[in-house]
């Protein structure tokens, strides 16, 4: 009996030692060997697992240009990824390069001094004309910059070209024309717009508020405007009216939105300009089967048309052993060569005006929004503090599923907003 107990204790001790050793060692192949190095293999973590092949494709170009290749680990669950990154800062394994979010999420990392400052990289990029001042603002905290943009996307309206042609509809240039198009489509038995009850539930609210009054939209993100203010309620009632007209697809459908647009479940979808990749993947041809237009402002008196923009950053952890390597890659990433290669790999709008974009549709979009008749505003996802965003996404999803009196939905969001802003005082 005693010997059995000793064997058991031995196994337990061995298991413990193994666990401890496993905890002390890491999975990366660069353990401790590349502090200060500016060439080599850079461990890169991203929540965009589907983009992993695109990052891998970029390795040939980066190896030649700066002798750095990415060892990419992709997560497909955003919440799991965020938790992993946050926990990594408490260890010796904080990443040399990782994707994150702008807005409140990035501010949290900056406030805790967890990400490396990139002011010098931004100064060079602005001097070279590689990035715009507007974009730099998204990465600026107390006058300093952190992280660099991984990508940029404008939130526009995609539409099925065949449906538009069959119904004799031209790309709307005013809100009235957009309403007329939706009315015509509905009369023909075609659902005008896509909607869902999960995650991407915010875009129509974002579009209606910013397109009515950009200052009102900005006020929501600073707490100066309440979700229950009459102006917001009026806007929600516009949305409700459109819901009651049957202009939106079934929020309970789990059909891939790209497939839905292709098979005509709906004619239009308000989405980020990265949606090209999904539509191409669904077998639609850019410019032939689908196209896009900037959504006109609700308020025709606005001098410029507001366009929602999102920019996802790539960041370097301040205490990473690969900090110098990550910073070297970040510097190269902003260059026209890197962005041209990235756009060839991913098919995306370029944040660098000097990069070459292969897809004419995306190239035109970049030119259009920069023509002086448009104003960029931060996407709702990044503009809204995280706790308020979580509740808002759920409430907009519930509204999409069961459209009705907007007040209960708005009151639920405002209750969370009141709590959040009270904590900030």
């Amino acid at each position: 009996m005693k010997s059995r107990r000793m064997v058991g204790a031995g196994i337990a001790a061995l298991a413990t030692a193994t666990l401890l050793l496993a905890g002390c060692s890491g999975g990366g192949g660069n353990e401790g060997g590349d502090a200060g190095a500016t060439t080599g293999t850079l461990d890169f973590y991203t929540d965009k697992a589907a983009w992993e092949p695109d990052f891998d494709e970029l390795n040939a170009t980066s190896a030649e240009a700066v002798d750095i290749t990415l060892n990419t680990t992709g997560y497909s669950d955003a919440a799991q990824y965020d938790a992993f990154i946050k926990q990594s800062f408490r260890t010796q394994k904080s990443p040399g390069l990782f994707t994150w979010h702008t807005g409140d999420s990035l501010k949290q990392l900056v406030d805790e001094n967890l990400v490396a400052e990139t002011t010098d990289l931004w100064t060079k990029a602005i001097d070279e004309g590689w990035a715009t001042e507007d974009l730099r603002d998204e990465y600026t905290f107390d006058g300093k910059q952190y992280c660099v943009p991984m990508n940029i996307a404008y939130w526009v309206m995609y539409y099925n070209k065949n449906i538009f042609e069959e119904q004799g509809i031209e790309e709307p240039t005013t809100w009235e024309e957009l309403d007329a198009a939706a009315t015509k489509l509905k009369a023909a038995g075609i659902t005008p717009y896509y909607q869902t009850s999960i995650l991407f539930t915010f875009q129509w609210f974002q579009q209606l508020v910013a397109g009515t009054d950009p200052e009102l939209y900005k006020g929501l993100s600073t707490g100066d405007v309440k979700y229950t203010d009459p102006e917001i309620v009026d806007i929600m009632n516009i949305w409700l009216d459109e819901q009651e007209k049957g202009w939106f697809s079934d929020a309970g459908s789990t059909v891939d939105p790209a497939v839905g647009l292709k098979q005509g479940d709906f004619a239009m979808i308000n989405f980020g300009s990265f949606f090209n990749g999904s539509l191409d993947g669904a077998g639609m041809v850019s410019g032939e089967d689908y196209d896009m237009f900037v959504i006109p402002a609700v308020n025709a008196d606005l001098g410029t048309t507001p366009v929602a923009v999102e920019s996802g950053p790539i960041c370097v952890a301040e205490n990473s052993k690969q900090k110098d390597l990550g910073m070297a890659y970040s510097e190269w990433w902003m260059s026209p060569d890197a962005q041209t290669a990235w756009n060839a790999a991913r098919g995306d709008v370029a944040f660098n005006p000097k990069a070459t974009v292969n897809d004419p549709m995306l190239s035109d979009l970049g030119t259009t929004v920069a023509d002086g008749s448009h104003t960029l505003f931060t996407r709702y996802f990044e503009a809204t503090p995280t706790p308020i965003l979580t509740v808002a996404l759920e409430q907009f999803g519930a509204f999409n599923a069961n459209p009705g009196d907007p007040m209960p939905f708005l009151e639920a969001i405002q209750a969370e907003a009141d709590k959040y802003w009270a904590d900030q005082e």
Partner: protein
């Protein structure tokens, strides 16, 4: 003991400590006393989540346990009974997420079920995963589809372990059907029933994966369960303090339910 301390007690203590703090996963936690618990119990969505969880407990006791018992009784001693139980057992090999994916395909708007109903002229079917509490009910049914087989198997093992003598004596006395079940089988199955029901209660209190994959707790928070609320607050909202408070509450409820149930069952066993 060291492993138990590292793997069980330390996380438990750390979670309990976090439940009294405000913490976003970065920097150091700030002590806030019982604020998280007050916030938790005054949140109407938490109450909704609690009610959904109770619905899960009731549902999984009624359906997988009840149907499992019925299936075991109907196929017990039946020639080829194993072939009747086997199809019910196969879904148990699928993960909860897998079950969720399969049933999402069936129950989503314009999904397989709606298309099948359309063949029979039903053009306006119920919104299975959208309307509450229908969405919770259909998810309980989906979960039952997975759980019936293993319960039937456990009850069959219980039935086969009953000694033949009392059964034969009862039959000689003319007991059949419900009389045989109520007077002989049910009392003799009690130890196994205690285990099956106990496991079902614990499993339903921590219902998570199937709801996450089918509705993500929505629309809004209409189909959320306590485990999903804990996940939402901790990992989606980065409110580790509130998430920990919910985890502590869920653990305490599960422990109390298990202890009360098992104590009651054990005392009944002594009375027999």
């Amino acid at each position: 003991m060291f492993l138990v301390a590292v793997l069980l007690y330390l996380p438990l203590l750390w979670t309990t400590f976090l439940s009294f703090t405000e913490y976003n996963g970065l920097g150091d936690p700030d002590w806030v006393g019982i604020d998280n618990y007050v916030e938790m119990f005054t949140d109407p969505a938490f109450v909704g989540s609690l009610m959904n969880t109770l619905l899960w407990v009731a549902g999984t006791l009624l359906i997988p346990v009840g149907v499992g018992l019925a299936l075991a009784l109907l196929t017990w001693n039946l020639p080829g009974g194993i072939w009747l139980r086997l199809p019910f057992l196969i879904p148990y090999a699928i993960s909860g997420i897998g079950v969720g994916v399969i049933w999402s395909f069936i129950l989503s708007a314009n999904g397989a079920l709606d298309q099948a109903l359309a063949v029979f002229g039903v053009t306006d079917p119920p919104r299975w995963l959208v309307d509450a509490p229908l969405n919770t009910v259909v998810m309980i049914l989906a979960s039952s589809w997975q759980g019936v087989g293993v319960n039937a198997l456990l009850f069959t093992i219980g039935l086969q372990s009953i000694p033949k003598e009392p059964l034969e004596a009862a039959r000689v006395d003319g007991a059949t059907g419900f009389r045989l079940f109520g007077s002989i089988l049910w009392p003799m199955l009690r130890p196994l029933t205690a285990v099956v029901v106990g496991l079902s209660i614990v499993a339903s209190l921590k219902t998570f994966d199937i709801v996450l994959s089918m509705t993500k707790g929505g629309p809004g928070r209409a189909s959320e369960t306590l485990a999903l609320t804990m996940y939402r607050e901790t990992f989606v909202n980065s409110d580790y303090g509130l998430g920990s408070a919910i985890a502590v509450f869920l653990s305490v409820v599960t422990l109390i339910a298990s202890i009360l149930y098992l104590r009651q069952q054990l005392s009944q066993k002594h009375e027999m």
